[in-house]
Amino acid sequence: MSTLTFASRTLLGSLVLPGLLASAAFAGEKLVIEAGRVIVSPGNEILGGVIVIEDGRITAVGKRGEIEVPWDAPVVGGPDHVAIPGFVEAYSARGMDRPNENVDVAPFLNVRDSVDPINVTFEDYLRWGVTTINTQQGGDCVVGAQGRVLKPVGITVEEMTVRPDYGLVLSASPKRGKSRATQAQALRGAFGDLELYLQDVVTDAKDGGDLARREALYQGRDMEGEKAKGRAMGGSAWKVDGLELIPRGAIDEKWEPLLGLVEGRTKAFVHATAARDVLLALEVAKDNGFLQNTVMIVNGDAHKAAAHIAAAGVPVVIAGNLTYTENDPVTGEEIETDVIAAFEAAGATYALSSSDASSNSLWFRAERAIAQGTDPMKAFNAVMQTPADMLGIGDQVGSLERGKLGNVVLLTGDPLDPSTWVDEVVIEGERVYRRSEDVRNKYVFEGEEPTGIDAMPRTGEQ
């Protein structure tokens, strides 16, 4: 595989995904999933269960024979299978051409423009049973782009989208080229600049200049409907008086997403890699009124500030290693800390993310957590319902309850058994992945070359 050139890789990718999706066309509107065990949510299990999905949503879950199964629906799975909810990735900067921009404060960016639907990442997500992905900018920024929640199927970003324009990334950890203090200065400064901008806009309007409206019209920004109306500034932290004078459409797109954050309309994903960044992250969130909308992306070192995070009621996404290793500054002894245990002890809500981890698989990540002593229920919750709640879609995904989206992963056996594989993935009632048809897997495990590969020029092997 490694000898394939980029071109042939991409081509291969484009061959594979439509292949996987081919079945979707025949899926129809109903689907019945049978499984020896249906794990509705960690700890809530149905033996010999059936899941009925209609129009992409789960309409019934229960024991076989106890619930009504539509006669005309295709049936997948079987008694050997274990059905689990699709995994939910709480934060990921993968699947884009590049995860970061180099402009410090860039809330006007949108990952929509960077997401690459045929990126192998999404195929991997599917292979590992991840059905919902919160795709955001990476942490190398001060204020980053707007993100979106995706599912790993679709050939356009729109098709993949579960929740558009969702969340804004901020970083309390220094980006490249900044010291901690200058990062903090820039982060606070972003909101200071926003305030100044809004004040200027209001002053303009009061002075009769109305430059903002003219500028907006000049730029061709739509000023109809809701956008043509002015609204007093929302949010709880600070206000600029007179904002109601300004039609919302006249507010510069460069600042609008940040205003959304301050007004409490947007979720904030704040990077605080080290413990010392946590205080800054909390302070900025509090000062600008988005503390309750904040999810903190942390690495091992931040466990030292777990108590602060928990006290602020901010949920965390644990990226990076699950054990944190450092040397005692006095004795030089090596100290290992179980990061999950530290956050658990502090009472923080946590989700696990596969970013910066040793594997792309959330499933593996949960098992790592279990291996190091985390309660299996909690570990699986941290990759299912908890991240779903963090993303505000807890009523849509995260478990196999009635009414939620039909995101089901069929495993070949017990989720804790290392020989278990993801056999089939169903997203919103569509069969989107079958291991038996996974071309890449076949190539890796059985050496079977994908159809058409012979026709491709293998420039890499010359």
Partner: protein, 1053 residues
């Protein structure tokens, strides 16, 4: 909107209520010391105490009643308490400067790591520090004052926006132009050019400051400084921040002073090297100074010439203080926070008084930065931040005993006594030998350093220092002199007198009444038990070394071991595992007196001669030049095997060879030799020594082919050098492996020998298993004609758990590329898969000539074929006679019990033949012939019954007579707990005419010399064991009592 940090920390505090700030129980403690510098109206308090409640000082004074339930900590009369030191400047939070020339929104607090550990600073008494946001800008940002210890980040911030931190000196004049990329950069917008920023000169700086102050006054935005600069600056100044500007030169300082006067700024000038002439003006304008001594560690060894071409002035601090300027001292150039006191000492060179210097380290900076209501002096209501020193805090030689922040001990010597204190060697061992060793070193952590300061220091060798001091560190005497250094954490103990630990030249303490009489090669350290009550009683009497020997007598010699009763751990209890041997000269049949000793000496002499001969031969022998030869092991190896079976005659040998040839080249002995392996107890990483697992390259394989051909031709003779060929191959392997050796692996080297009966014995060395060479034994099984053979080994190290090493030799044929033994090494619960490779077929021990002379010819015959032709053979090591050899070199004393004058002379003469000076034991008639013994004996131990002269007043003390003849004497108890009376014996001998100096020597230095342990104990000198006795009077006055006893640097309690 609140972007200022002041509110932010309040916000955080709110967040923490409930989880972190749970109401702690009221914690009351009283800290006492001989001297307390309050740096307050109370001045210096002698023998006072500080009452601390819940992290705050409640009272300071001499008349403090200890409230019930309070913890009382008394640091003793020599301790000095001062307020926690405040570093007036630090780079703990310093980062890159902002792009703008005025960046009042750059917060030092953001750059500070509350989760970092500041052990060194705390360990030198610095409890708080001013942190700079950045340097090199007119307004670099907001400085802050933080504490360097404590758990809650919010409680550690003394003042968030303490200063407008900036500079008008040279450092601020290199601010680059300001430029930000326009977004989007279109044709219309363009990329733009950088805007020039002030200042480039002092007047530029003053202009910019004036503009900004105007902006603050008018509320104008001043876009040239950034849209938010004025607003942020105004908020900062409103919050009570002072201007803290760097200025060194008189014109800069003077310009700032004028500006401050005109604009009513609260100004602190930092640097201020040339502020001396302006001292009066600064005082008048109430401008504070953070003074940085112009020289420091960074300027040592360089030309530190100021702009005027001269060395910078040193009297600035003194002049400023004299004029009444509030002064703070910043660390000197190149000095860290832990050198803050040293920086103060530098500032004092120009005449700054001690009081002013101490104030400049405490209350001065607290006042300048507006935190004097919380810290800076010891006064009721302030934070209980204090430092306990073991001497004058401004004396550079004194050290810290404890550092408190908010009433909590944040540093004490015990906290730092990790591996660091063990010195670089120990750290290395920790790194190299892994966890086991580290655990061991942690268990035997050294005691805290101790300074013993006494009026009379008896050094042991007869000299007395009055007064004198000893520094004990890491179990040893680190310094001796009239004044020694007081390192951080050192406890200072004052006493009237001190002497080296007393040595009992012969006692039985530690054997717990055992009467077993072991032979001279027995290791007494294996049975000694130290540290029980009896041992402590002896130690408390001042006897710190007992040369211990089993009761009873042995004509073949009994071993004697020097050990420390009541030492803290088994390791330090042994002074010398074999200090001396004890013999008996007289026999019940007097005509046979000394016969057995003579016998023994004769044997020893012969034994020594063998070695002497060997050494001489070795010196003149040079190995034959090696002839490179590419042949197979074949014949030579078989010969090796044959050597094991010495009874075989040549014919049989030949037969056997043929037989073996037929049986597919089976190696008769794939075991004997030196084996190497690397392994890893924790991981699955397995490896032989480097790359030996695979054939290195084609050349090698070819060579092997050649060898096989050779072998088929049966070219026995040419096989001689095969070993070497193999060796050289292996050598290159070793080199490879040096590079590729995986981290964390342990190496193993074993040398084993196959005996005729299939048993295997030998030695193994591996740091992971044991610190010492371990004897291993086991068995070797091979089926007739089978290539594979089993090998099982086991060993029991003295310092670790027993281990086993079992596995198979896959290919035991002669043609095997390398003989590899793959198996499992298990020790306790650990185990590892190990592949060991035979590096050499040699087993040096096995080829040594045995004691039987008859075999010598055969030996030589077979040897003549070997490569080491003519190589001298090392004599067999006789562990029982080895001590005698050491005695001949003077490393081990030999005690001989002999009493009658004629026998004494016989005995001495007999030993003289070997060049040994014996120690005469119970030699009651020796004083009479003292003159004849001078220079011929190592020393004499008399029975305790002859401590006093015999009949008649005229006769003098026998001990004195011996001493005056130049013969060292010692005291011995011959008992167990009775050793405690040794000082009294000496006093009694003094009563009967022995000189006090001589008696003291006999208790210490001479005793050590007699017992051959004078390199470790007996005197107080650098490097000697830290065995010291502190007394309240003359050591030889029976009325004197022992105050403290230190054994190996630790006090015996």
């Amino acid at each position: 909107m609140s972007l200022q940090h002041g509110t932010a920390s309040g916000v955080l505090a709110c967040l923490l209520v409930g989880s972190l700030a749970a109401a702690p129980a009221l914690d009351v403690q009283v800290v006492k010391a001989g001297t307390i510098h309050t740096v307050d109206a109370s001045g210096v308090i002698e023998n006072g105490a500080i009452l601390i409640e819940d992290g705050r000082i409640l009272r300071v004074g001499t008349d403090i009643e200890v409230p019930p339930g309070a913890t009382v900590i008394d640091y003793g009369a020599s301790a000095v308490i001062v307020p926690g030191l405040i570093a007036a400047d630090s780079s703990l939070a310093e980062g890159a400067p902002a792009e703008r020339t005025a960046a009042p929104d750059l917060l030092a607090l953001d750059g500070f790591d509350f989760y970092a550990t500041f052990t060194e600073s705390l360990g030198s008494g610095v409890t708080s520090a001013y942190i700079t946001p950045a340097r090199g800008r007119l307004i670099a940002g907001q400085g802050a004052v933080v504490k360097l210890g404590g758990d809650d980040p919010d409680a550690r911030v003394l003042k968030a926006g303490a200063t407008v931190h900036g500079a008008v000196d040279d450092s601020a004049r290199r601010t680059p132009g300001y430029w930000t990329p326009p977004i989007p950069a279109t044709v219309d917008v363009g990329l733009g050019i950088p805007e020039e920023q002030l200042p480039r000169s002092t007047m530029g700086a003053v202009l910019a400051l004036n503009e900004l102050l105007d902006g603050v006054a008018s509320g104008e935005r001043l876009d040239a400084y950034g849209p938010r600069a004025v607003r942020d600056l105004a908020a900062l100044l409103k919050g009570g921040a002072v201007w803290r500007l760097d200025a060194d030169m008189p014109q800069e300082i003077s310009a700032l002073a004028d500006l401050a006067e005109r604009r009513s700024m609260t100004l602190v000038i930092s640097g201020a090297t040339y502020a001396g002439d302006l001292a009066e003006r600064l005082a008048e304008l109430n401008i504070g100074v953070v003074y940085q001594p112009p020289m420091g560690p960074a300027s040592f060894g360089s030309d530190n010439i100021g702009p005027d071409g001269k060395l910078p002035p040193v009297d600035t601090a003194a002049r400023l203080a004299k004029a009444g300027v509030v002064l703070a001292i910043a660390p000197a150039p190149g000095a860290g926070l832990d050198d803050l006191r040293f920086s103060a000492a530098l500032a004092r060179r120009g005449g700054l008084s001690r009081e002013d210097a101490l104030e400049a380290l405490t209350l001065g900076p607290a006042t300048l930065y507006g935190v004097a209501d919380k810290v800076g002096s010891l006064r009721a209501g302030k934070h209980a931040d204090l430092v306990v020193f073991n001497g004058d805090p401004l004396d550079v030689s004194s050290g810290v005993l404890a550092t408190y922040i908010d009433g909590e001990v944040v540093w004490s010597p015990e906290m730092s006594l990790g591996t660091a204190e063990l010195g670089p060697g120990a750290t290395l061992a920790g790194g190299e030998r892994g966890a086991a060793n580290r655990a061991k070193s942690m268990a035997s952590r050294p005691a805290t350093p101790v300074v013993l300061s006494v009026d009379h220091l008896y050094l042991g060798d007869g000299d007395v220092l009055s007064p004198g001091e000893v520094l004990l560190r890491n179990g040893r005497v680190a310094e001796v002199g009239t004044q020694v250094s007081r390192p951080g954490g050192a406890r200072v103990i004052h006493a009237p007198a001190a002497m080296p630990g007393i040595i009992d030249c012969l006692g039985h303490l530690g054997l717990e009444g055992s009467r077993r009489m072991p032979s001279t090669d027995f290791d007494l350290t294996r049975i000694v038990e130290a540290g029980d009550d009896g041992d402590r009683a002896v130690a408390k009497a001042g006897v710190t070394t007992v040369v211990m020997t089993p009761r009873g007598e042995s004509s073949s010699g009994a071993p004697m071991m020097a050990y420390r009763p009541a030492s803290a751990d088994p390791d330090s209890s042994v002074v010398d595992g074999l200090a001396a041997l004890r013999l008996v000269w007289p026999d019940s049949d007097r005509s046979k007196s000394g016969a057995r000793v003579r016998d023994l000496l004769e044997k020893a002499a012969k034994y020594d001669a063998e070695f002497a001969e060997y050494e001489q031969a070795m010196a003149s022998w040079s190995p034959e030049p090696e002839v490179p030869n590419l042949t197979l092991p074949g014949a030579d190896e078989e010969e090796d095997a044959d050597e094991e079976e010495e009874d075989e005659d040549d014919d049989a040998d030949d037969d056997k060879k043929k037989k073996k040839k037929k049986s597919k080249d089976l190696d008769p002995d794939p075991v004997t030799g030196i084996w190497l392996a690397n392994f890893d107890f924790d991981g699955a990483e397995v490896g032989m020594d480097g790359a030996a697992q695979v054939p290195e390259d084609d050349d090698d394989e070819e060579a092997d082919d050649d060898e096989e051909d050779d072998d088929k031709e049966g070219d026995d003779k040419e096989g001689d050098d095969d070993d070497e060929e193999e060796d050289s191959d292996e050598d290159s392997d070793d080199e490879d492996s040096d590079e590729s050796e995986p981290l964390g692996t342990e190496s193993l080297r074993m040398q084993i020998r196959l005996n005729a009966d299939g048993s295997v014995e030998g030695f193994l060395r591996s740091a992971a298993l044991s610190g010492e060479l371990v004897a291993v034994s086991g068995s070797y099984e091979s089926e007739e004609g089978e290539k594979q053979a089993k090998l099982a080994l086991s060993g029991a190290p003295l310092d670790g758990e027993p281990f086993t090493f079992e596995g198979v030799i896959e290919d035991a044929t002669v043609s095997a590329e390398a003989v590899v033994f793959t198996g499992t090494l298990a020790q306790g619960e650990r185990s590892a898969e190990v592949s060991a490779r035979r590096d050499s077929r040699e087993y040096p021990m096995a080829q040594r000539p045995g004691p039987v002379v008859a075999d010598e010819d055969d030996e030589q015959d077979s040897k003549s074929k070997s490569k080491d032709k003519d190589k001298p053979k090392e004599p067999r090591l006789d562990s029982k006679l080895e001590p005698f050899r050491r005695a001949m070199r003077g490393e081990v004393a030999i005690l001989v019990k002999v009493d009658r004058a004629d026998e004494i002379l016989d005995c001495v003469a007999a030993f003289e033949g070997l060049g040994i000076q014996p120690v005469l034991l119970s030699a009651s008639q020796a004083p009479g012939i003292a003159g004849q013994l001078t220079g011929r004996v190592r020393g004499i131990l008399l029975d305790n019954s002859v401590l006093r002269p015999g009949d008649g007043l005229a006769s003098d003390s026998p001990l004195a007579r011996l001493q005056s003849a130049g013969i060292p004497v010692g005291f011995h108890s011959g008992a167990e707990e009775g050793a405690a009376y040794l000082p009294l014996m000496a006093a009694y001998a003094v009563r009967h005419g022995m000189s006090p100096t001589g008696a003291l020597r006999a208790l210490t230095a001479d005793a050590a010399a007699i017992m051959a342990i004078d390199d470790l104990v007996g005197t107080l000198a650098r490097g000697m064991s830290g065995d010291v006795v502190l007394l309240d009077g003359n050591p030889l006055d029976p009325a004197s009592s022992v105050l403290h006893v230190f054994v190996a640097g630790r006090e015996v309690h």
